[in-house]
């Protein structure tokens, strides 16, 4: 496929200083079951090309879903025109060295390809999972969902790059709602997402999880409300990954720091001069960009400019070292970055994105962490999230919590929330869980960019303890 596309690139008539073509072919299948019945089955076959040209120091892009040679030439000419029209107003003069020449391949770790299960087989598994959630008459609504994505990206350039990547992923989500009188509680599995084949959609696991969340939804009906006050807060990986995403991932994006996102996603409290200096969190905090973790949702070999992706420390021993930004932003800012210029699909130009952004495990076991807490709260599974455009003031809600008293997990708590300010929050990190607490999470829907782009990100994190956090319950 890469060979063929490279050949087509060579056949184009153009006067660009550099020319790239990125072809994306993607199949997305969504299946939903509700209350023991079929709810939806839909598939999208998406296929298109993005042409990128460099003319007069200006990159310009033209996207088309018509694969003919003629359409490709039209897109190439159009991109060239656009670059010329904009070049005298460019934000930065780029040159051909700003696109690396690379060749290579990447494949997700797949045992059985996604098309090995029929639409009906997947639906049956989901229908059965919703049946398992019905652990009581108080369970009033049950939903199960699977999202299968198979993506092929081919990138070729006039400098000789030839990259092919095949990414296969599965996400699943179970949700159940229990009601008694006016009290309504929803418990979910969180959106579990991984790279791999259809083997990730495991019937036993789905049914086990379905039963668990059914029971926990019931438990929440009679749980005490989460108290208000300053507490030691233990965050499970299925909440901590959102905290990491919103208050470390986004503020470290170089394009945000450069101000490109101010009109939509927002700015950042981090400044260019902070790299290499800023104490972002306590010395226990180690954050990495790692696109090489097997099975994590945003693993890849190369970003969409062709830059090879490698493991890098963003924050080491609490100190900020590196930004989340690809070549263009690195050149503009003079700050070290990572291979993270990514596009949501063929119809959008690539921009600075997160990929796999992880917190490295520490050396405290879960039991030891809880045992050391006099009065605290353990929160699991994100249900609500919000943060300001500088990424300072956040508020999160979780589905399920436990009170920690004198070193033991005791009562179940409902509607737990906490809020805080990024800089003090990460400095209050007091313990980092060991590798037995480390879990892989992620999201298909990180939104950013103008025009808007939703992209897949991965976050692998251990359980962590934060001291003196402002915790509160539901509305009165």
């Amino acid at each position: 496929m890469a060979k063929n596309l490279a050949q087509r690139l060579n056949n184009l008539h153009h006067k660009a200083d550099w020319l790239g073509i990125r072809e994306v072919k993607e199949t997305t299948q969504t299946s939903i079951a509700r209350n023991g019945k079929f709810e939806n089955n839909s598939t999208t076959f998406d296929h298109g090309l993005m042409i990128e040209v460099l003319v007069d120091g200006q990159f310009a892009y033209c996207a088309t879903d018509n694969m003919s040679d003629q359409a490709l030439q039209v897109a190439c000419d159009r991109a060239t025109q656009l670059a010329k029209h904009m070049a005298s107003w460019k934000v930065f003069p780029f040159n051909a060295h700003h696109r690396p020449t690379a060749s290579g391949r990447y494949h997700s770790p797949v045992q059985h390809s996604l098309d090995k299960a029929s639409a009906g087989e997947i639906m049956e598994m989901l229908v059965d999972a919703t049946q398992k959630m019905k652990v009581s008459d108080k369970i009033v609504n049950r939903m199960a969902q699977a999202l299968l994505i198979d993506q092929n990206i081919t990138l070729v350039s006039s400098a000789g790059s030839e990259i092919h990547q095949h990414i296969s992923s599965v996400a699943s989500y179970l949700s159940t709602t229990a009601q008694e009188g006016t009290e309504i509680q929803t418990r979910t599995t969180g959106l579990s997402c991984h790279q791999g084949g259809i083997e990730l959609l495991n019937r036993e696991r789905l049914e086990r999880e379905a039963e668990r969340i059914g029971k926990e939804a019931l438990e929440l009906l009679n749980a005490e409300p989460c108290p208000t006050g300053a507490y030691d807060l233990v965050l499970a990986p299925d909440q901590l990954y959102m905290q990491l995403h919103e208050s470390i991932g986004h503020p470290l994006e170089l394009d945000r720091i450069l101000g490109d996102e101010r009109n939509y996603a927002g700015w950042s409290f981090v400044q260019l001069s902070d790299f290499g200096q800023l104490q972002y969190g306590s010395s226990l905090l180690n954050v990495v960009f790692d696109p090489t973790v097997g099975g994590e949702y945003a693993s890849y070999g190369f970003d969409d400019t062709g830059l090879a992706a490698t493991h890098q420390y963003l924050i080491k021993d609490g100190v900020l070292l590196r930004g989340i930004g690809g070549i263009d932003s690195q050149k503009r800012s003079g700050v070290p970055g990572v291979a993270s210029t990514r596009a949501s699909s063929w119809n959008r130009p690539p921009i600075d994105r997160m990929a796999n952004i992880n917190i490295e495990p520490g050396d405290t076991s879960f039991d030891k962490m809880i045992a050391g807490i006099e009065r605290g709260i353990y929160m699991t599974t994100n249900s609500s999230w919000s943060i300001d455009d500088y990424r300072r003031k956040f508020q999160f809600g979780c589905e399920y919590a436990k009170l920690i008293e004198k070193g033991k997990l005791t009562k179940t708590l409902r509607n737990p929330n906490y809020r805080g300010v990024t800089s003090t929050f990460w400095k209050n990190l007091k313990m980092v869980g060991d590798s037995s607490t480390f879990e892989i999470w992620g999201s298909p829907y990180c939104g950013k960019g103008e025009p808007n782009q939703a992209i897949r990100v991965g976050h692998a994190v251990p359980v962590c303890l934060f001291e003196n956090i402002d915790v509160f319950g539901g509305a009165l």
Binding site: K37, F38, N40, N41, S42, T43, T44, F45, D46, H47, G48, Q58, Y61, C62, D65, N66, M67, S68, A71, R78, A79, L82, A83, H85, W89, V91, S118, G120, E121, M123, V127, V140, N141, T177, Q179, T186, G259, D260, R262, W267, S345, R348, I351, W385, S386, I387, D388, D389, Y390, K393, G397, N417, R419, G420, E450, P451, N452, G474, A475, L476
Partner: protein, 448 residues
């Protein structure tokens, strides 16, 4: 835009869908929906061009019903008639294969014979050759960030009962913000179907003049309850979140809506508040993906009471309700809040001492069942004392229920509604916008 527009026009779609419907077997029914666009995007940072791109795309979604089973496949139409028909027939085969393995759909939405419609809104878009100069030359003295988008948007719905609906519009927007050296900002947008240089300059100059107010030192506001005026762009954010676990009939019936209490009469909103779906402005198609056509106006909340949630035919079947032709997601497509009596030039005086909030950011339900929302103030927000602007403020986090700020705490709505265009562009450009007045609220809770 490109002169050689190759995206599907209505005649091509009619021809393709007719051929597809002819292929259906006696026990098969089909609904098709189409969404396409040709868009130029110019992204601006520091009043310079950060990125420029143009996209040409069109997707056909095929929904096949066969033996009480249903499946849906979406795919690109490439603009080559024969090739597209061949591919569409291949997709029909795939739909059939899926239907064979799937269980029955208990709440099928069958295609219905009905009236057809065609609407085309032609526009006059700015010339791309001089676009950068037109947009940025008058902004040379300020720090500007934003997105310009322009082009043709197309939507269509066809079914095997012979119904055909088509909607197209050529439009543009320049959604931008201006910044002071102390990083305080003003948000603005110039949008429409017919570009006029003078109108853009007037829009930009107004924003520049407002920016001057932000050169004053910013004030830190302590958490607490404040009297607040929310400008229309801020009110629009509260309206948009209602499309998410709010106004959907299905969400209410499934206990995942903040409006469940309102629906069941356990809570009420202010008699000042009335909300409609309003298609009279022609900004969005009145047909949905099932081919159902909405009434020109659907009263949703009338004087604080829930008249009707948004209900599509699927929800209607499952719960025995009356459909009001809502879309698949039962989300708002063209919402309008009725204006009130607060005069525009008395807003600051009426506010007295409190906060003037022009924009909000990152709203989320913090307690869905109780209708509590958290979010942030954003861009040009002020502290006002005795009817006079004192200073800009540092951004504040709020956490407050709709039953409070749209309930007893809602004091007044302003006399004029403003259209806040929807500039969402995930996957494709969104049509329409939110028409809302400003609102005066007492005792609004800020928490951080």
């Amino acid at each position: 835009m490109k002169n050689d527009k190759r995206q599907y026009q209505k005649q091509d779609l009619k021809a393709l869908s007719t051929l597809l419907f002819q292929e259906l077997k006696a026990d098969e029914q089909m609904t098709l929906s189409y969404s396409g666009e040709e868009t130029l995007f110019v992204r601006v940072s520091q009043a310079k061009v950060k990125q420029v791109s143009e996209v040409s795309q069109g997707y056909l979604t095929m929904s096949l019903i066969s033996h009480h089973r249903r499946t849906e496949i979406a795919f690109s139409l490439k603009g080559e008639r024969e090739e597209d028909l061949k591919y569409a027939l291949h997709m029909l085969q795939k739909c059939r294969q899926n239907c064979e393995t799937l269980p029955e759909d208990p709440y099928l939405v069958l295609p219905e014979a009905g009236a057809s419609s065609e609407e085309d809104f032609k526009g006059k878009l700015p010339d791309v050759e001089k676009l950068a100069e037109t947009l940025l030359k008058p902004a040379h003295s300020v720090d500007l960030a934003g997105l310009f988008a322009s082009g043709l948007l197309m939507r269509a719905s066809m079914n095997s009962k012979g119904q055909f609906h088509w909607f197209s519009t050529e439009n543009f927007y320049f959604d931008y913000s201006l910044y002071t050296s102390a990083q305080k900002a003003i948000k603005a947008i110039y949008a429409g179907n017919v570009w006029k240089d003078e109108a853009y300059l007037a829009n930009l100059n107004q924003a520049k003049n407002q920016l001057a107010l932000f050169e004053r030192t910013s004030r830190k506001i302590l958490p607490g309850k404040y009297r607040v005026y929310f400008a229309p762009a801020a009110v629009a954010e509260f309206v948009k979140i209602l499309s998410w676990s709010g106004i959907s009939g299905g969400a209410i019936m499934q206990d995942r809506s903040a409006f469940k209490k309102l629906y069941e009469g356990q809570a009420h909103l202010s008699p000042l508040l009335s909300v409609d779906e309003d298609f009279t402005q022609g900004l969005v198609p009145r047909f949905n993906e099932f081919g159902d056509v909405s009434a020109l106006r659907i009263p949703l909340i009338t004087n604080g009471k829930l008249t009707s949630p948004l209900i599509n035919r699927r929800t209607a079947q499952e719960y025995g309700l009356q459909s009001n032709a809502a879309n698949g997601g039962e989300s708002l497509r063209s919402p309008l809040i009725h204006p009130g009596s607060l005069q525009e030039d008395h807003i600051l005086q009426n506010l007295g001492t409190g906060l003037y909030v022009s924009n909000l950011h990152y709203l989320n339900w913090s307690d869905l069942q109780q209708g509590r929302i958290t979010g942030m103030t954003r861009y040009g927000c002020f502290w006002v004392e005795k009817g006079e602007i004192v200073s800009p403020i540092d951004d504040m986090r709020f956490d407050e229920t709709i039953y409070h700020f749209w309930g007893e705490a809602l004091e007044a709505l302003s006399e004029r509604t403003e259209l806040i265009p929807d500039v969402c562009s995930y996957g494709e450009r969104t049509l329409g916008g939110v028409s809302v007045p400003g609102m005066m609220v007492n005792d609004f809770s800020f928490t951080l």
